[in-house]
Symmetry: C2
Subunit: 202 residues, 2 copies
């Protein structure tokens, strides 16, 4: 029994193109015709490889979060809670206005509200945003244990806060805010984390 005809396209390259379409138009706004054209393949190839439209989205999200997690590891490696927040929010300001990508964040642009039949797309995105929040929370728990955050600080609340600001910046970016506007937001936002930081050095 042979292995069959080999696939003529590279799945990861095709996913990058699909990611861009979902990013720009959202899950429901992206059509199979747009996706297949961007991916350089025909519908049967798409369905053979990814199952259906939602399967394609999940694969694109997997790829997106994989790259993003590498960056988040660098973010939480910053020495203090304040530095973590600053590195994250300033980095997001840059990433969300990177001309190489559509503006904003796929985990927001993908779909906040969806119609009947796509109800779990927003859940899927929210679950992936929650992963980043959890990672931030763990980092802030450590910061508190290290005396970097005040005794009165709530690491979970801080993580939720930074996550919320990130999302808000993503929406702003997608509606035309430029890099400097997002950086302004980031700089202000960091001050709330600073307010929860211990006064003693380091």
């Amino acid at each position: 029994m042979g292995m069959g005809r080999p696939r003529e396209f590279d799945a990861e390259t095709a996913l990058d193109q699909a990611m861009e379409v979902f990013w720009r138009h959202g899950y429901e706004g992206a059509t199979i015709a747009q996706l297949t054209e961007a991916m350089g393949i025909n519908p049967p190839s798409l369905y053979a490889c990814f199952g259906n439209k939602e399967g394609l989205l999940k694969a694109a999200l997997d790829r997106y979060t994989k790259l993003r997690n590498i960056w988040m590891d660098e973010v939480v490696a910053a020495p203090t809670a304040r530095a973590v927040a600053e590195r994250m929010l300033m980095g997001i300001a840059d990433k969300q206005t990177d001309p190489a990508n559509p503006p904003g964040c796929l985990l927001v642009q993908g779909g906040i509200a969806c119609g009947t039949g796509s109800e779990n797309v927003p859940f899927e995105l929210a679950a992936r945003r929650a992963q980043n929040e959890d990672q931030l929370r763990d980092r802030f728990v450590r910061a508190k244990a290290e005396g970097d955050l005040k005794e009165s600080a709530d690491p979970a609340a801080l993580a939720r806060y930074v996550s919320a600001v990130s999302v808000g910046m993503g929406v702003m970016a997608s509606s035309g805010a430029d890099r400097e506007a997002l950086r302004q937001v980031a700089r202000v936002a960091v001050q709330a984390v600073e307010a929860q930081s211990s006064d003693r050095p380091q």
Copy 2:
């Protein structure tokens, strides 16, 4: 020349129902069938009264922002920049988790990314969000003039920041965050405004 048969439904009541459908499913996710059923009318009545689906959305947005502006006037009436931010963000935490409405904010849920043919829906929402940001900025300009905000404070940046946090909270609410989670975010967020506030009393 007579006036013709009078309309049998109340336009504002119908708009409230349409608003809820757009709020829950987004512009593209909401179907004419869902809208007409919720409004208790048939398609020809909808088109005669609102033109088309986008006209209906704009009418719903007008009604939404009209109610919201009344509340925003109360918000900016707070005595200090810090109090304005607190009243706004804590109020948003409550409003966005009010069981009488769908979670989140119509100006976000309505549609952040849209497909071909609905490209200006996100712009329409962004323009209305910008109105609130402008109102906040004006208030913060005044706060700085009154010495309530530090000389180093940037009113426009602060307004953008509060607006971004509001949007982020809306997305969180729509993906299941409860009222207390949003209040936590609001309380942290206010501290950044506090950090820009003058130390002298009042």
